[in-house]
Amino acid sequence: MDRLFRALTFIFALAVLALAALIAFELYRNSVLSQKAFGWSFLTRQIWDPVEEDFGALTFIYGTLITSALALLLAVPVGIGVAIFLAELAPKPMSEVCAFLIELLAAIPSVIYGLIGIFVIVPIMRVQVQPFLIKHLGFLPLFKGPAYGIGLLTAALVLAIMIVPFITTITREVLMSVPREQKEAAMALGATRWEVVRMAMLPYARSGIAGSVFLALGRALGETMAVTMVIGNSTHIQASLLAPGYTMAAVLANEFAEADSELYTHTLIEVGLALFVITIIVNGIARLILGRMKVAPVS
């Protein structure tokens, strides 16, 4: 029975690998035309001209990376902060109710987030946030330009709202699983509440928290619907975060159905391949950074 169980789980594990390999292979196989036509420069050019069939994916790569990075920047502190409060500081009933509501947030379809983005967040961004940024930080190229409401920053904000539940839910669970002895030991040494969290709990829960961030990052990189509704879908890279942009997932969703030539289709599939590879690389880098952190002494 044990051997059967072992074999069975081994097959399941193998199936995941095979699936990833198959996806990579199919993406590669169905994008050969575009690879031949544009080579590596596909990743570094920002032209996107379906009429002349001249394509480069830089705008989309830039948009995906910048919105995901910004979203993490906004969501990680908030998500972990909420989790610490719920796990450690909040009264139990409140913690339970909040945790339930946050899990509910994770289940909302992304098109709903997109609609909330368009009808609630975009007007606030256009009328209040962006004019404020332009007025006070407008000397930076990052915050220049007219306040459209939609754009890279708005997309990042909507993404951040979408990924906070992932970070909070998992982080809260791992924080709650920290053994009581661990906390009591720190308290016995005279640690304050903050020191208990910082010294006894966060290091213990680190890999779980890292896992939640990976999951959040994965969702941010691949999110399609909500982003395409608020990012502005412009194929030109602009320095300003307030300007419209585009992401890889969004261009796939927008243009795949109407891609009418073989090269065009292959090009879009190559965008998918690039997204696949970039997701792997970004996750790898994130793992590397967090792995380093683990080696650092806990003080």
Partner: protein, 339 residues
């Protein structure tokens, strides 16, 4: 003996009633989907042994699917190119079914009247060369309207669409610079502007963004009671889009209709013609290897040209002009049915 005979008769009759209807599959353009589903519904009611199934996956998808012959007919808002026709598995015929128009919609501070746009103004707005609402090029044709000195935000479709094809085809015809720099297609490399997904995305962005301008299908604008502007046509007249002005463009363009119906009717001749108009087409193979399906398709085309056209106006589509219908009836005769 008599009883057995009657039982047998009932059995045969029953078998006939229960025979599965002939299923004819099609896929393509989303723009004509409302009228196509009405047509297929009405047609199946009149011919219960035929059932037509239509997937509105977009013109590009329709062309792809009919080219690889995974459906029995395709549908597209833009005519197929020569290269696309060569890739198809056989000779494909185009059959215009109804017409549509694309209208400019806008949201300008303090402007409630319908604006008039000259061809030069419209092309330059979308090229990003006219950037202020108070530009003399716009003011000239709207002398009584107070236009603010605010910058114009252009909104276009982000997803590939036959609506974009019609609009960029119109812009290509009226501006050499647009033709050379951008061109016409279901998606293009827009010089300026924001992209919205679908008609509703474009309309939503325009509603929310002060001093913006974009384009949507006439049907979408009328159904949602959006105000839209008038465009200057080839004859220099400012025409509001309507089923009448779209049909007028088609009737005028039909005078030089090519035999394969692959014609663009944007910027058509004639005083009454609306310049951003287009046919939408069914794509059908000339050689039908399945006799029953071929016969059904021919029968449906005949029905579509006569009875079918009467549904168009109510659903907001411009019906085919009278001079196109006999030309299509001739083209139907080209279809060769095996067996």
């Amino acid at each position: 003996m008599k009883k057995v005979f009657v039982a047998l008769l009932i059995l045969i009759a029953g078998a006939h009633v229960w025979a599965a209807p002939l299923l004819i599959n099609g896929a393509g353009a989303t723009f004509p989907y409302p009228i196509y589903s009405k047509w297929f519904d009405e047609y199946s009611k009149a011919n219960p042994d035929i059932q037509m199934n239509y997937q509105s996956i977009g013109s590009g998808g329709g062309i792809k699917q009919i080219s690889s012959h995974t459906v029995d007919f395709g549908a597209s808002d833009g005519p197929m190119t020569d290269a696309q026709l060569q890739k198809a598995e056989g000779q494909l015929l185009h059959f215009p079914t109804v017409l549509g128009g694309v209208v400019p919609i806008y949201n300008v501070d303090g402007v409630v009247t319908s604006l008039k746009f000259s061809q030069e103004a419209m092309a330059k707005i979308f090229l990003g060369q006219v950037t202020l609402w108070s530009d003399p090029l716009i003011k000239k044709d709207n002398p009584s309207v107070h236009l603010p000195a605010t910058s114009i935000t252009v909104v276009h479709r982000a997803d590939g669409s036959g609506t974009t094809y019609c609009w960029t085809d119109f812009l290509s015809k009226i501006s050499a610079e647009w033709k050379n720099r951008v061109g016409k297609a279901n998606s293009v490399n827009w010089p300026v502007g924001l992209g919205g997904k679908g008609n509703e995305g474009v309309a939503g962005l325009i509603k929310q963004t002060p001093n913006s301008i974009g384009y949507v299908e006439l049907i979408y604008a009328t159904q949602n009671k959006l105000d839209y502007g008038a465009l200057e046509n080839k004859a220099g007249k400012f025409i509001l889009c309507s089923n009448a002005s779209v049909s007028a463009a088609a009737a005028n363009a039909a005078k030089n209709m090519p035999r394969d119906f692959r014609v663009s009717i944007t910027n058509a001749e004639g005083n009454e013609s609306y310049p951003a108009s287009t046919f939408t087409w069914l794509l059908i193979y000339r050689r039908q290897s399945d006799g029953a399906k071929g016969k059904a398709l021919v029968d449906f085309l005949d029905w579509m040209l006569t009875k079918g056209q009467t549904y168009a106006d109510d659903l907001g589509y411009a019906p085919l002009p009278a001079n196109v219908i006999p030309m299509e009836k001739d083209a139907i005769k080209l279809i060769e049915i095996k067996g």
